[in-house]
Structures are given as structure tokens and as C-alpha cells.
Point group: C2
Chain length 213, copies 2
Amino acid sequence: MSFNDLISGALTTTGQVRNEPVQARSSERIGALLDAASAVVAEVGIERLTTAMVAERAGASIGTVYRYFPDRIAVLSAMSLRGFERFLRKSVDNLEAASPSTIDGVFDCLIDASVEMHRTEPGYTSIRLSDQIALPEVEGGTTSARVAGPLAAILTDELGVVDDDLVNRLDIALTIADALIVRAFISAPRGDEAAIAATRAVVGSYLGSSVHA
Amino acid sequence: MSFNDLISGALTTTGQVRNEPVQARSSERIGALLDAASAVVAEVGIERLTTAMVAERAGASIGTVYRYFPDRIAVLSAMSLRGFERFLRKSVDNLEAASPSTIDGVFDCLIDASVEMHRTEPGYTSIRLSDQIALPEVEGGTTSARVAGPLAAILTDELGVVDDDLVNRLDIALTIADALIVRAFISAPRGDEAAIAATRAVVGSYLGSSVHA
DNA sequence: CTGTCGATGATCGAGTTCCGTTCGGTGACG
DNA sequence: CGTCACCGAACGGAACTCGATCATCGACAG
């Protein structure tokens, strides 16, 4: 049990490509298609993304898009999933680099990872917002719920946190963090620094008052 | 200045019907169309709502839908706006009935109103989630931002709250409340009672630690 | 080791279907 | 009888399909 288990624990969904690619170039194609989709979302928004735009920007044909994704929404879902994976990867990297000894420290790593995602990944903020409902195909419950379980195990194991309702409290803390970070990126494209700082403060305060090590 | 000013303060947008109805039956039609849209959203989600579904369920023809709304997204925007209006109305009713003397009391009224909206209005949860991004046409910034301003004025005026950063803190509190209530309705269709109670506690705790009367 | 060959994966894009939107005609109100 | 409300066939464009074509790779002979 280590920080790295966060990834395997939170990633239960397999992915929603139509046919698993066999040749190497396919994986690149899928990546290129998702990059294109991400850029298109950042430009025109989720609602106005067309499969033709994605294909053209990726230098592929319409048919290729539909070879890998069953429909338009699946492209968005896959974008969402890849973003989630990257967020987890960044989180684990941060955790292993910082080796935090408090829950606040752990959340700082997660918040940093999330902020970086919003900064580097075009369209991530849009996707994050529509996640649950506009994309009901994304299975496995809320993002926060998927992270809360494995995170609780890690906290108990690594930091010796004892709390009979830890999963629930983590879920709440993650939901709050997510909402406030998105808020920071709605009010400013590069993320409102004061709002990000406020996120850390609020989450820290919540965890401090309810979770004890 | 009274609780009732919350409505006029937060509702700056005028509405997006194409032609203001002249005859009485028109208003009923619009209501019926929005009811139908709400039901469709609850059933198939925002992405898969088609104008034909809305028309059929409202017992109207396609043409009638387009007589009142310029396009598909406008139907969703109008749904969102009507929901927001109803939320404000309920909030003011609750506030006038309870005459709260603390900020916590005020937020209890707002939370009650929000919970009731999620319970009674099919599709409200979906619309609430996609608010900002999937419907960029909804002007005036975040819901929380639109409420925070007028609410701050009321709190200062009615309860004598003094806080130089009140608007910002209210925005945060409203964002948290919104996210946690939506969370409660994602995990259970009728709203998870424990999660709703947790929402009250978290928001109360945040306001208590940061806003002083 | 190299070149050929067949099988299967990958790509393409014209064609089909479905959905958003328009518009001219018909009925209802006042 | 003029205006308002309503309808639904028709249009355009976007989602999605499918058979044809090209690329890759292992097998096998020379």
C-alpha cells in the first residue's frame, strides 16, 4: 500500500474505445483525436463540438473517429477519463515528491494537481463541470467518490488516520475542493490566485475540524 | 430593503422567449413546453434532449417550440432561468416565514429552497450541474455570484453584518452549498438525508469561522 | 537475410439517417 | 377580417455507417 495505489484504486473503468488498438499507430491516433477534441472544446464549448471538427483537427477522417468511439458523447467521455487519469498521475507524483505527513499536506498535493490540470489541459474546466450529468455515460459515480475510497485506505495505512467515517468526509472535502477550484477558473482563465488560496484554506479548515489523525 | 429584494437583485436577465406572448393561452404553452423539457432532461439528459421530444411531450408541434424559443439551447436556458426564479421565490418565502436573525438561519432557508427544487423539479439537478459551461448563453456569471451580491446587501441591512469581504465569502458559501446539495441528489434520487444534513453543517461551520455579525 | 504474399488492422469518405430549424399555409381569437 | 397562434412538410447540416482501399506484420520460400 502506497500513494501509487491511488491510481489503480480509483480507476475501475476500462475505457470506452470501440476496438482496442493492436498496432502502435492506433494509440497515437486516439491520443491525437483526444487532443483535438480537447482543443475544440476549449474553443467552441462542449455543445458545439462536432465530430467533423475533431477529425479535421486531428488530421483524420470522420470514419476514423467512429472507428474508435461509438458516438460523439463517447469522445467527450474519453476526454474526461483521460483527464481524470492524468490528474491521478500528477497527484501521485506530487505525493511521492512531497511525502506529506498530514492530511492537509495530502490535499495540497491533490489541489496542486487539479490546478495544474486546469492550467495545462485546454477544455478541462468545461469537461469537469459537465462531468456527471451531461455525460451520464461516465460510470462509477462522482469523481470525488471514486477517489475517496482508495484515498481513505492510503491515509489510514500511511498516516495512521483513524476515523470511522473517513470515506464520507473525504468525499465531502474533495467535492468542495473541486467546486471551488472550478470557480477559480471560471472567474479567471488562468485561475484566480486568491480563489485558489481560499480553496486550500476552506478545505484545510474543514478537514481540521472534522478529521483527526 | 427586505428579503424580497433578493429576487429583483439577482434576476438581471430578461428572459429569452422569441415573441412575448399576447394571448393568455401562450403563457400556458410556454409553461407546458418547459415542463416537457424538464421531464425530458430528467429522462435522457441534456445532451440527448431533442426539440421533437419536447414538442411531443407538450402536445405541441415542432413549429410551436420554435415560435417561442430561438433554438434548442434557448429551451434549456429558459428552463434554467425558470428554475432559478423558482428557487429565489422559494427562498424569499422561506426567509419571510422564518425571519431568521443569524446568517446560519438565512442559509438554512436557502438550502431548504434548493433541496425542495431538486425534489420537485425533474431535471433540475441536471440543469444545475451543467449551468455554466454547457449553457454558456446563460449570462450574468455563476448562480452563486448572482445571489451573493444582493444577499450581502440584505445581510448588512437587515442583520447588521459587518464584513469587508462579505460578497466573496457568500459566493464561496453558496458554491459549497450548491456542490454538496447536488452531491446529495446524485447519490440518491430523492436526496440523501445525511448528505443534506452534512451540507448544513459544513456551510454553517464555514460561515461561523469566517463571517461575523 | 530478403522479398513476396496473404491476412488482418487501420483509414478513408461518399452516402444515409436523424435532428435542428424554417416557412408558408390553416385555424382560432377578439 | 386582421392578427395571433399553430401546424408539419421540407430544408440543411451534423451524426453516424459501410464497403473499398491502404498499411502493417508474420510466414515462408528462395
